[in-house]
Amino acid sequence: MSVAFPPSDPAVPRSLVPMSVLDRLTPLHVALTAEGRISGLGLTLRRLIGGDAAAAGSIAGLPFDTGFTLRRPADLALLALGGPVELTLRDDPRHPMRGLALPLPGGALFLALAFVDLPAAVRDLDLTEADFGPTDHTVDLLWLIEANAAVSGELRSLNRRLQGAQAMAQEQALTDPLTGLRNRRALEGALADHCAGAEGFALLQLDLDRFKQVNDTLGHAAGDHVLIEVARVLTQETRAGDTLARLGGDEFVVLLSGMADATRAMQVADRITRRLSRPIPFEGQACRIGASGGLILAPARAFPAPEAILRQADAALYAAKRAGRGRTVAQDWQA
């Protein structure tokens, strides 16, 4: 069997391409008679429809819709005019094919097809290299899809590692390495956020009393131990969402988020100063410190300036120290 192709130049004699060559060159083709019956199938379609050569042979001469469902154009009459075509296998409509319908002399038709979703078709229909034409770039395309997936996988994991490193660097930049509390920079950020929000909050500024004596008489290891213990007390006496910062030396700030009640804020401050008035044991010695606090309550919708809050807390702390240390002095926010 052979199919005659109309030459573009009438002066050139018609060339005949044996069907066996077309079977190999375009493994996804359908040849139709003028009556719309199947007269030939590419190797791959033969395998997909028939399963074996005998069954494929038996499909020859059967109507087009025995093997295929046409999606575009609407019917065979339109298809016979030639042009873009889209269809599926009748018995396995998962994988649409699209291509071109080429009218042949005498009303016959040649459909050259390709799968729309190639990787899915290759996977589900178990296609091999032999299912594609020799000059077809399908296998190269599949190679590239797989190689690109490997490359983008590497890029993704690099990005993940960089992201992790960045998060860690950021965390380190905001943390006081000795106590694990936030540092001054982190406090400035948190305070700015609180001041910009409508919610009220309380700020407690704490100075340790007699910390210098501990350092001088028992050494820096004792001093460090005391600072770590203070951090532990602050953590235990506040809620998870509060901001605890060490500003350096023996200065601490506690930011109580959403705290609108002066009595409750004062209770937190008192619990902290009371606990810090107890001796802290260190290697058989007792480190006797204490803490003085200045407490400012910023009411809701006050939108205070951060520097003003810190200044007023400092003034309250000074008052606490003058009043004999070991206590917290609370002052109202002065707009």
Binding site: P119, E129, V139, W143, L144, A147, A149, L158, R161
Partner: protein, 214 residues
């Protein structure tokens, strides 16, 4: 280390990463760590998508060879085998199996390998590879230098900086196994290999389907 890239004298991280994975997967994480410590490499090792000082590849290989009391060549050959046959590197095996249905098809596909690799990783310039059939079952593979050959020279591309011929010996032998072929491979100098297929169907080929495994 991006400065090496700008001068066009950097080695692609993929190469160094492959060496790192090879040493780690075959001799263990502690062995890799010891090599990395000897050379004061960054703690996390090499990143596949960055570029590095080209001296690092030979330095890592020589350090590992010294610790193992092996020659660099035999280490490189093992690395070629590792790239194809280690369970963790199945992606490489699959990409090479795309070369064709049989072992001879695979050998001929090596001609196009540097070009194909460039499609996926444009800045990874492999040396040109030329396969000649001397007889139906006898082939010669000639290894060029990165960026030479028929493809347009890739200026300022990171160079390989690792001798590749011995890697190919191990890699081709492992691919022959994969195709079920029994072969004899011999290095002819630094840039040429002779491959004799003794039995093309010595064993059954390992399974390969075009569709990527889920």
């Amino acid at each position: 280390m991006s400065g090496f890239g700008k001068r066009g004298r950097a080695v692609h991280g993929l190469i160094l990463r492959a060496i790192q994975c090879f040493l780690r997967d075959i001799w263990g994480a502690a062995f890799w760590q010891a090599v990395a410590d000897d050379l004061r490499l960054p703690a996390q090792g090499f990143e596949a998508m960055l570029t590095y000082d080209p001296a690092l590849g030979p330095a890592v290989l020589d350090r590992a060879a010294a610790r193992l009391n092996r020659s660099r060549d035999s280490l490189l050959e093992d690395m070629g085998t590792y790239l194809v046959s280690h369970p963790r590197r199945d992606g490489v095996r699959r990409l090479l199996r795309f070369g064709g249905a049989g072992f001879a098809d695979f050998l001929h596909s090596l001609d196009h390998l540097p070009g194909r690799v460039r499609l996926a990783v444009p800045d990874l310039a492999l040396p040109s590879l030329r396969v000649q059939a001397l007889a139906p079952d006898s082939f010669r593979l000639t290894v060029g230098t990165p960026g030479d050959g028929l493809a347009a020279p890739v200026l300022a591309a990171p160079v390989l900086a690792v001798p590749v011929t011995m890697v190919l010996v191990g890699l081709i032998r492992a691919m022959a196994d994969d195709h079920g072929a029994l072969v004899l491979i011999e290095a002819e100098g630094d840039t040429s290999l002779r491959i004799d297929v003794l039995d093309g169907q010595h064993a059954s080929a390992r399974d390969f389907r075009l569709a990527a495994p889920a």
